[in-house]
C-alpha cells in the first residue's frame, strides 16, 4: 500500500497555511481591527451584584453627556437561547439582551454608545441603579439545589412552552440501559469515587467583539467574533424581528475560540440594539476582563461507580453528573446527553445508569469548551479505570484495551440521538507504539519510588466525534453547505460559511478540493464570505468540517467531464474521463486512459466554456454527514514531581491519534501539541475562583492571576513524540476524521495517572495544584 503522501498529490503533504504570513506580520484584520466612518463605541454596564432585582436604572446623566443608552426597556423581552443547535422543542430559553434581574456579576443590565471610547466609558460609569432586592449569591451547585436557596430562575421557556424551574435545576436527563442490579451482582470488584472538575476560562486570544453597521438600504452588516455566522444571523432575526434578508453577518478571521463563540455572543446582540437606537455603526470590544466574566467551562461534579469481574470484564457503570452551569443555559441540555455519550462510548459498561442535572448558580454562564465535556468525563473515567486495574492486579492498558468501544461497536459520542457504527479504529496500534516509545514496561509502582524528585508515567485514552451528523435527524441540527465555481482560467472560488478557528479547517477543505480537481491549493480562493452568499452552515463545532468541500468538488468534476465531451472529438461518455494533477504542467488534466489524443487541461476546459457561452461550471451543495466517526487519541505522559514543593513538570509525552487519513501532518501535530498544553493546564493550573461573599472573580478578571502554561512550562520539542495510526475512515473525505477536540480529551486523565504513579496519591479535584499535592503527601514529603 502506498503511503498517503505517495498516493495523493496534495493530501498528506505539508503546505503552509495561506494566512500564516499575514497573521505573523499582523496584517490580518480581526473584528476588533475593523472601523468604519462615524462609528460609535459601545460599553456594556454590568450588574454590580451577582444576584439582585433592579427597580430602576437612572440613565439621565449618561444621556446628558451625549451618549445613547439602552436599558432592558429598550430591548425585546421574550427569552431566547444564544446557542441554536438543538431543535426548537428542546431548546431551553432563559436569556435576555439586558435584564432587570441580574443573576451573575457581569450580567448586562444596560449599554451605552458614544463617539469616543472615553466618553462611552464615562457615560457607562454614570449610570445608577436602584435595587428592589439584593440576594446573597449562590455559588455552589449543591447549595443551589437545597431547599433553603432562593430561586435563581422561576420560569423559563422550553421551545415555546413556559416551564417552571424547581430547586434551580435547569435541565435533567436520566438514562438506563441493561440490568444494573445484574451488573452489580456479577461484579467482583466495585469502585465508587466522586470527582470535581475546574471551571476554566477559554482564554482564546481574541476577546469578543461586535461591530454592527446600518446600511443605507435598511440592511445591517455585522462583523463579529463567531464560530457560526448563520446562527448569529438567525438569532438576530428572531430576537429583533428583522427579516434574514436584511441581515448580513460577515465571516471575519477569529483569534481562536475553543468553543467560546459557538453561540451568538451577547455582545453581538447588544451592538445591534445600540446600533438600532443610535442609528450609527456601533462597535463593542470586550476587554480581557469583561471577556473573563462572559464565559467559562462547565464545572462537573461526577460520581462514578463501576464494577468488573476478576477477568477484567466490566459489568456495570453508573454516573451521576451534576453540572454547575452558572446563571444561564447555553447548551446545558445537549451537554447532559453528550456527557452520557462520552461515558458510554469510552468503555463497554454493559449495564448503565446515568443521572444528569444542570444546576443554576450565580456564576458566569458555562458554555462549550474544546472537548465539550469529554475532557472532564475522560479524566474521571481514565482515573477510575486505573484504580480498577490496580484493584484487579492488571496492567491498566490491558484493562482498557479489553473493554474499550471500538471497531464494529455502536457509538454515540454526541448523545443518544446521534448514533453510528465504528468503521475505523487505530487504538491498539497506537497503544502498542506508544508503549514502546514511552518505555511503559519499565514503569514502576509508586511504592518503589523515593527521594525528593519522583517520576511517574501515566496513560489516558479518549476520542471525539467528527461532527454531530448521523443517519437520522435527531435533536441536534447539523448540516452545512458550500459553493464551488470554476473560474474562467481554471482556478477555483470556494464559498462557505464555515469558520476556521485556527485549526486549519478551511485549509483542509482546500486540499480536498485540490485533490479532487487537480487545482493546487494556492489557486483555490477561500472567498471572504457572509451569510448572504453562502448556504446554511450550523457552526464550526464538534471537530467537524472536512466533508462538504469534497462533495461540491465531485459535482464540479462531473460537470467538467461533461464539458470535456463537448470539446474532445469522439468523446461521448463523461464517465470515461479521469482527472489527474500533472506535475510538469502544474495543473489538472482530463483524459481517457490509453487514448493519447483524448487529453485536455482543466484551464482549457474552463476557458472554452467561457468563450463558447456554455456558462459557469459551479456547484452549490447542502450537506449532512450521515455519521460522526470517532477520532481516537491516546497520551502517554511522564512527569516529575518535586515532593518538597509539590511542583510538577511534564518531562516526556507520546501523543497518538487515529484521525484516519492525515490531510495536513504538521497542522495535525500542532493540534496535538496544543491539546497537550491545554490539558496539562486543566490538570495542573486553571480555575476561576469566586469570592464567596461578593460573587466576584477573585482575580477581578485580570490575566495576571489567571495562568496558563508558557512555552517554558511545556515539554521540550524533542521530548514530545506524535504518532498517527494507519487507518482509513470509509465515511470520511479521503478517509479522514476530525481532530481538534480529540487532541485534548485524554490529557488530564493521563496527567492525573502519571502524578499518581509518581507519588502514590490520587486526586479527585482539579486542578491538581502543588498546594494540593504537598498537602496530600504531608509535611513536605521529606523522607
Amino acid at each position: 500500500m502506498l503511503n498517503i503522501a505517495e498516493r495523493y498529490s496534495f493530501i498528506g503533504k505539508d503546505i503552509p497555511r495561506r494566512d500564516a504570513d499575514s497573521k505573523v506580520r499582523g496584517l490580518l484584520e480581526f473584528s476588533t481591527d475593523i472601523s468604519v466612518p462615524g462609528m460609535y463605541y459601545g460599553r456594556i454596564v454590568y450588574s454590580p451584584h451577582p444576584f439582585a432585582d433592579i427597580e430602576e436604572i437612572d440613565t439621565r446623566e449618561a444621556e446628558s453627556m451625549g451618549a445613547v443608552v439602552i436599558t432592558p426597556k429598550d430591548v425585546p423581552s421574550k427569552p431566547f437561547n444564544i446557542r441554536l443547535v438543538s431543535v426548537n422543542e428542546v431548546t431551553f430559553k432563559d436569556w435576555n439582551i439586558l435584564t432587570f434581574s441580574p443573576r451573575y456579576l457581569g450580567d448586562p443590565v444596560a449599554a451605552v454608545a458614544a463617539p469616543s471610547e472615553e466618553l462611552a466609558q464615562k457615560a457607562a460609569e454614570s449610570i445608577k441603579f436602584k435595587f428592589r432586592k439584593v440576594y446573597d449569591p449562590i455559588l455552589d451547585a449543591f447549595e443551589s439545589m437545597g431547599s433553603q436557596s432562593a430561586p435563581i430562575r422561576e420560569k423559563i421557556l422550553k421551545g415555546e412552552e413556559e416551564i417552571p424551574v424547581r430547586r434551580n435545576v435547569g435541565a435533567e436527563l436520566n438514562y438506563l440501559e441493561g440490568d444494573l442490579e445484574k451488573g452489580k451482582r456479577e461484579a467482583d470488584v466495585v469502585i465508587e469515587r466522586a470527582f470535581k472538575t475546574n471551571r476554566r476560562y477559554h482564554f482564546q486570544l481574541e476577546p469578543k467583539t461586535s461591530l454592527c453597521v446600518p446600511e443605507h438600504d435598511g440592511r445591517f452588516s455585522i462583523y463579529t467574533t463567531t464560530q457560526t455566522i448563520h446562527n448569529t444571523r438567525i438569532l438576530i432575526g428572531q430576537v429583533f424581528g428583522i427579516p434574514l434578508s436584511k441581515i448580513s453577518v460577515k465571516r471575519i478571521p477569529i483569534g481562536g475560540s475553543f468553543g467560546s463563540s459557538i453561540q451568538t455572543n451577547l455582545v453581538t446582540l447588544i451592538s445591534v440594539a445600540l446600533c438600532m437606537k443610535a442609528k450609527k455603526p456601533v462597535k463593542i470590544s470586550l476587554t480581557r476582563e469583561e471577556d473573563m466574566y462572559d464565559h467559562a467551562d462547565y464545572e462537573m461534579h461526577l460520581k462514578l461507580r463501576v464494577g468488573a469481574r476478576r477477568s477484567g470484564e466490566l459489568t456495570f457503570g453508573e454516573l451521576v453528573n451534576i453540572m454547575d452551569i452558572g446563571a444561564h443555559q447555553v447548551q446545558a441540555y445537549p451537554l447532559l446527553g453528550t456527557a452520557l455519550g462520552w461515558f458510554v462510548s469510552l468503555y463497554k459498561w454493559k449495564n448503565i445508569k446515568y443521572e444528569g442535572k444542570a444546576v443554576y448558580t450565580n456564576k458566569t454562564p458555562s458554555c462549550a469548551f474544546r472537548g465539550y465535556g469529554a475532557p472532564q468525563i475522560s479524566w474521571a473515567v481514565e482515573s477510575i479505570m486505573d484504580e480498577l486495574a490496580e484493584e484487579l492486579g492488571m496492567d491498566p492498558l490491558d484493562l482498557k484495551l479489553k473493554n474499550y468501544v471500538g471497531l464494529g461497536d455502536v457509538f454515540w459520542g454526541q448523545g443518544p440521538t446521534v448514533r453510528s457504527v465504528i468503521r475505523s479504529d487505530g487504538v491498539k496500534e497506537l497503544v502498542e507504539k506508544g508503549k514502546q516509545l514511552i518505555g511503559w514496561d519499565r514503569r514502576k509502582p509508586p511504592s518503589m519510588k523515593q527521594g525528593r524528585y519522583r517520576t511517574g508515567i501515566g496513560f489516558g485514552r479518549s476520542f471525539h466525534t467528527s461532527g454531530a451528523g448521523g443517519p437520522i435527524s435527531g435533536e441536534v441540527i447539523d448540516y452545512t453547505g458550500a459553493t464551488l465555481k470554476l473560474n474562467e482560467d481554471g482556478t477555483l472560488d470556494y464559498i462557505t460559511a464555515l469558520q476556521d478557528h485556527g485549526g486549519g479547517t478551511l485549509e483542509a477543505h482546500a486540499k480536498i478540493i485540490a485533490e479532487e480537481l487537480g487545482v493546487p491549493p494556492h489557486l483555490i480562493n477561500i472567498v471572504p464570505s457572509d451569510t448572504s452568499v453562502t448556504p446554511y452552515d450550523v457552526c464550526t463545532h464538534a471537530s467537524r468540517g472536512t466533508y462538504v468541500g469534497g462533495e461540491a468538488a465531485q459535482i464540479v468534476k462531473s460537470k467538467v467531464f461533461e464539458a470535456a465531451t463537448r470539446i474532445l472529438p469522439k468523446a461521448v461518455n463523461p464517465e470515461a474521463f479521469k482527472l489527474v494533477y500533472d506535475e510538469t504542467l502544474e495543473q489538472a488534466v482530463v483524459y481517457v486512459e490509453g487514448m493519447k489524443d483524448m487529453r485536455i487541461t482543466l484551464s482549457e476546459i474552463a476557458r472554452t466554456s467561457w468563450q463558447r457561452n456554455w456558462g459557469t461550471i459551479a456547484a452549490t451543495v447542502s450537506y449532512r454527514a450521515t455519521s460522526a466517526p470517532p477520532t481516537f487519541t491516546v497520551f502517554f505522559v511522564e512527569v516529575e514531581v518535586d515532593t518538597y514543593t509539590g511542583n510538577v513538570k511534564p518531562k516526556r509525552v507520546v501523543a497518538g491519534a487515529d484521525l484516519g487519513t492525515v490531510i495536513n501532518p504538521k497542522l495535525a501535530e500542532g493540534q496535538l501539541h496544543g491539546g497537550f498544553v491545554m490539558g496539562w493546564s486543566m490538570a495542573y493550573l486553571e480555575d476561576t475562583i469566586y469570592d464567596r461573599r461578593t460573587g466576584e472573580l477573585l482575580n477581578k478578571g485580570m490575566v495576571v492571576d489567571y495562568k496558563i502554561p508558557t512555552s517554558q512550562d511545556s515539554p521540550k520539542l524533542e521530548d514530545f513524540k506524535v504518532i498517527f495510526a494507519n487507518t482509513y475512515e470509509p465515511t470520511g473525505p479521503y478517509g479522514a476524521k476530525g481532530l481538534g477536540e480529540a487532541a485534548l480529551n485524554p490529557v488530564a486523565g493521563a496527567v492525573a495517572n502519571a502524578i499518581y504513579n509518581a507519588v502514590g496519591v490520587r486526586f479527585y479535584t482539579l486542578p491538581i495544584t502543588p498546594e494540593r499535592i504537598l498537602e496530600a503527601i504531608s509535611g513536605g514529603g521529606k523522607q
Partner: protein, 301 residues
C-alpha cells in the same frame, strides 16, 4: 459600583495632569508642588496597570523617563550604582550584575518577559513595594541602599528600612528614588535567588535569596531574605543567626533554613495558601543556600 464597570484596560479610563520634566531639579520641584496627589511614572509596568484597573487614580503624573543621566549602571569605590531609570533588561546585560550580584541576576532572569524587562525599572519595582517584588530579596541580602531625593536634599535609606506594608514605602510624598547602591561583595562570597510560581513569567508564590560569605569552611557572614510570605519583603534574622560562625555544611543550611518560619507571616491569596508558603519557605531558603555555596566553591575551584 463593581470594579468591572470602572475598569477599561483598552484605554486609560481616568483624567490626570501629565508632566514630563527634563531635569531632576525640575522633577523635584514639581513633585514638591503636587505632592501628595501625584504618582511617578518610569517603566509604567505597575502604575499603568493599576490605573487601568482603577486601583489608583492619580490627579497628577510625573513621567521621569525623559530625564537625562538617570539610566546607568556603574562601579566605583567598591560600590555598584544603579540609576533610577536603569531597566531590568539593562541589568540583565550588565556583566557586573551577573558576575558580582548573582542573586539579583537570578531574579532578573525569572521576572516577567523580555518585553516587560525592557520597560520596567528596578527602582520602580522597589517603590511599588509589592511583598512579592522579585528584586527585593536579592537586594536585601546584598545590603543595598536606596538614595532618595527631594528639594530638601538627598538621603540614604538602607533597603531593610525601606518597605513598610503592601504598596507602602518609607519615602516621603515629595521624595523620589534616584539611585540604588550595592556594595561589591568580597571574594569567597556568593548569593542565589529562587522563586516558586504557578508558571514561568509569573509573580512569586514565595521567593528567597541567600547571601553567604565563607572562610576556611566557616560561614563568616550570611543574609537571608524572603518574598511573598509577609506584608513586605523580609530578612530572616533567625536563620542568619543560625548560619554565622557555623561550618558551611548542608546540615547547617538545613538547620538554619528551618528557622525562617519564625520571621514570616504568610497569608492565603489567589496565588497560594499560607500553609503552603510556610512549608516551602524553608525549602527555598535551603536550596538557595546550597546554590550560593556551590557558586562559592565553583569560584574557589
Amino acid at each position: 459600583m463593581s470594579s468591572l464597570n470602572r475598569m477599561n484596560t483598552r484605554i486609560l479610563p481616568t483624567s490626570f495632569n501629565y508632566y514630563e520634566p527634563r531635569t531632576i531639579d525640575e522633577a523635584l520641584k514639581l513633585l514638591s508642588e503636587l505632592s501628595p496627589e501625584v504618582r511617578i511614572l518610569a517603566g509604567g509596568t505597575d502604575l499603568i496597570v493599576k490605573m487601568k484597573a482603577r486601583q489608583v487614580e492619580p490627579k497628577n503624573i510625573i513621567n521621569i523617563k525623559r530625564i537625562e543621566g538617570l539610566r546607568y549602571i556603574t562601579e566605583e569605590k567598591g560600590k555598584i550604582k544603579i540609576g533610577a531609570l536603569a531597566t531590568w533588561r539593562d541589568l540583565e546585560k550588565s556583566w557586573q550584575i551577573s558576575k558580582k550580584i548573582p542573586a539579583l541576576f537570578d531574579a532578573i532572569s525569572v521576572m516577567g518577559s523580555v518585553q516587560v524587562r525592557s520597560m520596567a525599572t528596578i527602582a520602580g519595582n522597589l517603590c511599588n513595594a509589592s511583598p512579592a517584588a522579585d528584586s527585593a530579596p536579592p537586594l536585601l541580602v546584598h545590603g543595598a541602599i536606596v538614595k532618595a531625593s527631594s528639594i530638601r536634599g538627598t538621603r540614604e535609606i538602607p533597603l531593610d528600612k525601606f518597605f513598610l506594608s503592601p504598596g507602602k514605602t518609607i519615602l516621603m510624598p515629595d521624595e523620589i528614588v534616584v539611585e540604588i547602591e550595592i556594595p561589591v561583595p568580597p571574594q569567597r562570597s556568593s548569593s542565589a535567588f529562587l522563586k516558586l510560581s504557578r508558571t514561568a513569567m509569573d509573580l512569586a508564590k514565595a521567593s528567597a535569596a541567600a547571601y553567604l560569605e565563607v572562610e576556611d569552611g566557616k560561614v563568616v557572614d550570611a543574609k537571608i531574605a524572603l518574598g511573598a510570605v509577609a506584608p513586605r519583603p523580609v530578612r530572616s534574622l533567625s536563620a542568619e543567626a543560625e548560619l554565622i560562625g557555623k561550618p558551611a555544611t548542608e546540615e547547617t543550611f538545613s538547620l538554619a533554613s528551618r528557622q525562617v518560619v519564625k520571621d514570616i507571616s504568610p497569608i492565603d491569596d489567589i496565588r497560594s495558601t499560607a500553609s503552603y508558603r510556610k512549608k516551602v519557605s524553608p525549602i527555598l531558603v535551603e536550596d538557595a543556600l546550597k546554590l550560593a555555596f556551590s557558586r562559592i566553591r565553583g569560584e574557589l575551584g
